[in-house]
């Protein structure tokens, strides 16, 4: 398995452009230095909040799946049109929050590179995170998308700014 993994990494890296390590990183993480040890306990709260968001996303996903199943079996909605309905709802959501649509890591990098004056305020990021949870639950419930990768929502991305504004 290890040999297969290494060969797969070599093949995919060479096919996706450049050898391993020569390409730019997909996610451009800004430099960070721990200001003080007082921030370490905050990481616990950050992890707990991430867990809460994940749990809420899981529940939303189950609710969407149950709704899709009910619409299919009880409401008589044709099953092949369920992904299209989910896509329609996701597109409607994207009219308000275009970041819910997939752009690789572009959205991540946009938020990371935005800085203090990049236009992504805390309230907007909260809304984007909620919209992402809703869109993902819709797509998963309707079997539109069969992948589940949960890195970290943007819900907590402005945590430092919120605390900084309170002189924390």
């Amino acid at each position: 398995m290890l040999l297969a993994a290494v060969l797969a990494a070599l093949a995919s890296s060479s096919g996706l452009g450049g050898l391993i390590g020569l390409g730019p990183p997909r996610v451009a993480v800004p430099p960070y230095a721990l200001p003080s040890a007082a921030e370490l306990p905050l990481a616990l709260g950050l992890g707990a909040l991430c867990g809460g968001v994940a749990r809420g996303a899981r529940r939303a996903e189950r609710a969407a799946a149950a709704a899709a199943l009910a619409a299919e079996e009880e409401g008589g909605f044709p099953a092949p049109l369920l992904p299209a309905a989910a896509g329609l709802l996701t597109g409607a959501l994207a009219l308000l929050y275009p970041e819910v649509l997939y752009q690789g890591f572009g959205n991540v990098n946009a938020v990371l590179a935005a800085g203090d004056d990049g236009g992504y305020g805390p309230s907007l990021l909260f809304q984007i995170a909620a919209a992402k949870v809703a869109a993902t639950a819709l797509c998963r419930g309707a079997e539109f998308f069969l992948c589940w990768v949960f890195l970290c929502p943007s819900l907590l991305s402005r945590r430092g700014k919120v605390f900084r504004r309170r002189d924390f």
């Binding site: 398995m1 797969a8 093949a11 990183p25 996610v27 430099p31 200001p35 799946a65 800085g115 890195l151």
Partner: protein, 378 residues
């Protein structure tokens, strides 16, 4: 059998009078004394490479005309004996190892090429859907927000809907579901499902439907106050090389693991469609658990504490809709598992289950069925 006539090798410590006969050649190394071995380093290279003798017609292996290889290690005697022993039964094991290595190489290269193909397909679909979008993905949000509603409707609303239609068509072609656990039992569907699923993933990704949270946010930790961020700068101890290598390795490992899991799941699904210890019907009243057979697994302690077997969990549904199919009988007032296997969150129930003969367990961690076997209290 390769017939080879070998020339007898002469040395101070080997028996010179061995007449080779046609037979299989074999490398052997009954070893000389240490000083003699050093002297044989001065032999010509073809002679030093390996000692060759004919197998047939040799009465005693201790009298073989051998010349040691160019090793000074004292454990050459063991190697020599090992070579002699491996010559009989080692061929099959070597061939199986070579086959495993070749299979691993094939799986790895195929996985890497699959990743590349999927990425290219996503790029192609994206270029087809949005030709006027900015090339830089980080400007997508601002660009989409700046669009008027008339222009945003076909550019933002139409592609996900069209992708949904395409995915629905693929789903219908796959027999109703792209999920292996829900697909019909035909072998053709089982074989087609991964390809159709890959096509659906490329379509959904290319049409910019974000099914996953590729949204790391502004880092887990904020940047220092007032400091300008540099997107291309990484302030971590890991270098770019190790970071990229770790990323590629983790991706490939996850793909390989998922592939092996899928293979094992497929195998177990076909080999053991129903485990013998899962009760399908209520056992008779005269049957005692202590008289033989496997103990009932659904005793209260076992039901709460012991996890379900790996292969049983691997058969579990991969999509939330399959979980929703199981949870149809779930009460909205109580989230406790009806079969006593614990809550969906893992907590043990306090109330006895309200049994229904046709009701299945609603907890995704519990795979027991109703009716439960006799003797297992809730």
């Amino acid at each position: 059998m390769q017939t080879t006539t070998t020339k007898p090798l002469r040395s101070r410590w080997s028996s010179p009078a061995v007449s080779p006969s046609p037979g299989s050649i074999r490398i052997s190394a009954p070893l000389p004394p240490r000083a003699s071995r050093r002297s044989h380093r001065r032999l010509p290279a073809p002679t030093r490479l390996a000692s060759v003798r004919a197998l047939d017609g040799l009465p005693d292996s201790s009298k073989l005309p051998t010349i040691s290889s160019s090793s000074d290690d004292d454990d050459d005697d063991d190697d020599a004996r090992g070579d002699e022993n491996d010559a009989d039964g080692g061929d099959s094991s070597n061939s199986s190892e070579v086959a495993v290595l070749l299979a691993a190489c094939g799986v790895g290269i195929a996985t890497g090429l699959g990743v590349v193909l999927l990425n290219d397909a996503v790029d192609a679909v994206r270029a087809l859907a949005w030709s006027g979008a900015p090339l830089e993905a980080t400007d997508w949000g601002r660009w989409a927000r700046s669009l008027p509603l008339e222009a945003a409707l076909p550019l933002v609303l139409l592609p996900p809907t069209a992708a949904g239609l395409a995915v629905g068509a693929l789903r219908a072609a796959a027999g109703g579901s792209l999920d292996d656990s829900q697909a019909s039992s035909g072998s053709g569907i089982k074989l087609k499902a991964p390809l159709l699923r890959a096509a659906a993933a490329a379509l959904s990704l290319g049409k910019l439907v974000e099914g996953s949270f590729f949204f790391l946010g502004r880092g887990i930790f904020p940047s220092p106050l007032g400091e300008k961020t540099h997107p291309s700068c990484l302030d971590f101890s890991l270098s770019d090389l190790s970071r990229s290598l770790a990323r590629s390795l983790s991706r490939s490992l996850s793909l390989s693991l998922s592939l092996s899991l899928a293979l094992s799941t497929h195998t177990h699904t076909h080999q053991a469609a129903e485990p013998p210890w899962v009760p399908r019907a209520r056992p008779s009243t005269s049957a005692s658990p202590s008289r033989g057979g496997p103990p009932p697994p659904s005793s209260p302690k076992a039901g709460r504490g012991s996890p379900s077997p790996f292969w049983r969990r691997a058969r579990g549904p991969a999509s939330p809709r399959a979980s929703a199919r199981r949870c149809r009988g779930r009460s909205s007032r109580s989230r406790r598992c009806s079969c006593g296997g614990g809550r969906a969150g893992g907590r043990a129930p306090r109330t006895p289950p309200r049994a229904s003969p046709s009701r299945r367990c609603c907890s995704p961690r519990c795979w027991r069925r109703w009716p439960r076997p006799r003797g297992s209290a809730a």
